[in-house]
Symmetry: C2
DNA sequence: TTGAAAGCGATACCAC
DNA sequence: GTGGTATCGCTTTCAA
């Protein structure tokens, strides 16, 4: 069996209280006994039992991470960057995929509470903020990432989705596009991006938003393709598509090809996220980059500060997106069919 | 504060022993007191503290998952499928990315032990099997996935890497290729794939393996591209490339294009894994599919059975790979320069 | 400077 | 059927 503090105490000829003190470097112990205990700890290869420590009111050094889907590259990259920073700080992650399902969100939170995690990093949907508010009320350290929740006071690291949407639209507008479609899943951050997108159209004037048919049901290539196909099949299709993530954008590209059109010559496409696939596909995807590494790092720092009680106030860190122009967007070429109403 | 078993006992007017019994459905309690206690539990919204339970020798319902890199799509998909099955079975995952670094592997194992995880699922490198053997010796439930370790007795779910390599090579050979290059990172499963690959060349005869220059340093697009570029720059380049994962294969495709050659007309490429990117890129990648979902499910079942003590013997489950022919491979067209030695 | 003992929240043995 | 109590491994207060 693994040695316990009792084994150490016995072998060192001291009490467990003394051993505890040298482990935690608390209280006052003589150099002599301290060294003696340390030596025994080494020889026994003793390791503190985190579970027992946690039971006395200490931390578990484990943080719950709720994300929509671990197999979505954006979240996988985000989780990895959070994990890395956690590792530097001595924390592990229990990762839970929620599929944006409120029941799963609630269930996982309940379960993680029972496991005494030190805090929660939330990157899931939480359309219903009730669970989050409850968590905060119960004094659990909470930090939100990749999703803004302006409604209440909570630590958060997010991007400026409005600005990102605005910039994506601007990119297309500057290239001369006058009829632009949007593809998005119906989650909070996308609604912000759409808002920004529309504001850009408005600000420039004379730009038409292609009739918004429906939200994507999921953030997949297939969903992007299905919706794009619909757009492109109309009598007066858009000349540019803004997809709210890279996967949907790739679906758009596939749809465009299936219609025997070319990207970007016939239709431009801009994505969002800048995951590694953006550079992998051909043509390489123009997209709005999210600072994933940065976000992961910041949110872990935030929650650890909160756990350690170092924070007086909640912080909200808003990071900027960056327009990455690659090959999927181009100056508009073909004149549209004479389709102005007048 | 969260209610404890004492709160429940007091409010129900019974002892904590009784409460414990109704929670765990052990011992004998009258229907009456049982209902009474249950009601109080409901009204107090009492939840068992997993930490305290674990301290009495019970399980934590948490399993450590060690993988090389969470942001690698193959492992992200694998982790997700393991997580899903774990969720069905009541287990959470602590996910640790090791980067194939033995020190990280050892460190994480040590840490997870201290946290009393119920077992370990290992998908990392573990070139040095010492850590794994130690774990098994110490009676920790262990299951290995996506990596075969034939040296000793351990639960494992893996694919037949040798067969996969053999089949990949056969695919190329059947298309008439006579000079084939291979790209791989130097990890165990790839060495098996290479072995299978070579056996296929041998079995068919007259096929030349393109001089194997070096192992890839990482499983990235860039690494695949760099090595492919080198191959393609030689005076007598290969007509087909077998890459040991999809990312490397994509790098190969990029390299081929950079050389102003076409895929698959000039050079065929076959990958390995069949992650979602295989269908995303153009041309769609011919690849050897790993049954990721199946693997995740099986390995979780294996470790849970082990944890519950339901297993008398270790199991090794070997799954087959499947050849998925898409667009990146084609019948050889161009005659090679007259380069036969005689 | 050291250690005895209470307590963290639960389980389980053994009386009653 | 029910409950008192030792126990899990550790921290912390308080005496000595």
């Amino acid at each position: 069996m693994k040695p316990t503090i009792y084994d150490v105490a016995k072998k060192a000829g001291v009490s467990i209280a003394t051993v505890s003190k040298v482990i935690n470097n608390t209280g006052r112990i003589s150099e002599k006994t301290k060294n003696k205990v340390l030596k025994v700890i080494g020889s026994l290869n003793y390791q503190q039992n985190v579970i027992a420590t946690a039971l006395t009111g200490k931390h578990t050094y484990t943080i719950g991470l709720l994300i929509p889907d671990l197999s979505n590259l954006f979240f996988a990259e985000l989780a990895r960057s959070i994990e890395d920073r956690g590792n530097e700080l001595g924390y592990n992650l229990v990762i839970c995929s929620t599929d944006y399902n409120p029941e799963k969100e609630a269930k996982y939170i309940e379960l993680l509470k029972r496991k005494n995690v030190d805090g929660f990093i939330l990157a899931s949907g939480f359309e219903n903020t009730y669970e989050v508010e409850k968590l905060i009320e119960e004094k659990y350290p909470v930090a939100i990432v990749a999703r803004d929740v302006p409604a209440f006071n909570v630590n958060a690291v997010c991007i400026d989705d409005f600005q990102g949407g605005y910039d994506a639209a601007s990119c297309l507008i500057e290239l001369g596009h006058k009829k632009i479609a949007i593809i998005a899943r119906d989650v909070w951050s996308n609604r912000e991006r759409i808002r920004g997108f529309r504001k850009a159209l408005e600000d420039h004037g004379g730009i038409e938003e292609y009739e918004f048919a429906q939200f994507a049901l999921e953030s997949s290539v297939q969903a992007g393709k299905t919706i794009s196909l619909e757009y492109l099949s109309s009598s007066d299709p858009p000349t540019a598509i803004f997809a709210c993530n890279d996967l949907l954008a790739i679906g758009a590209i596939e749809a465009i090809r299936e219609k025997n059109l070319r990207v970007p010559d016939d239709v431009s496409v801009i994505g969002f996220d800048n995951t590694v696939i953006a550079t992998i596909i051909d043509p390489q995807l123009t997209t709005m980059a999210q600072p994933i590494q940065h976000m992961g790092r910041e949110v872990m720092d935030l929650i650890v500060a909160e756990i350690k009680g170092e924070k007086q106030y909640k912080s909200r860190i808003v990071l900027d997106t960056k327009r990455i122009v690659r090959e999927s967007t181009a100056q508009i070429k073909r004149k549209q069919n004479a389709n102005k109403k007048s």
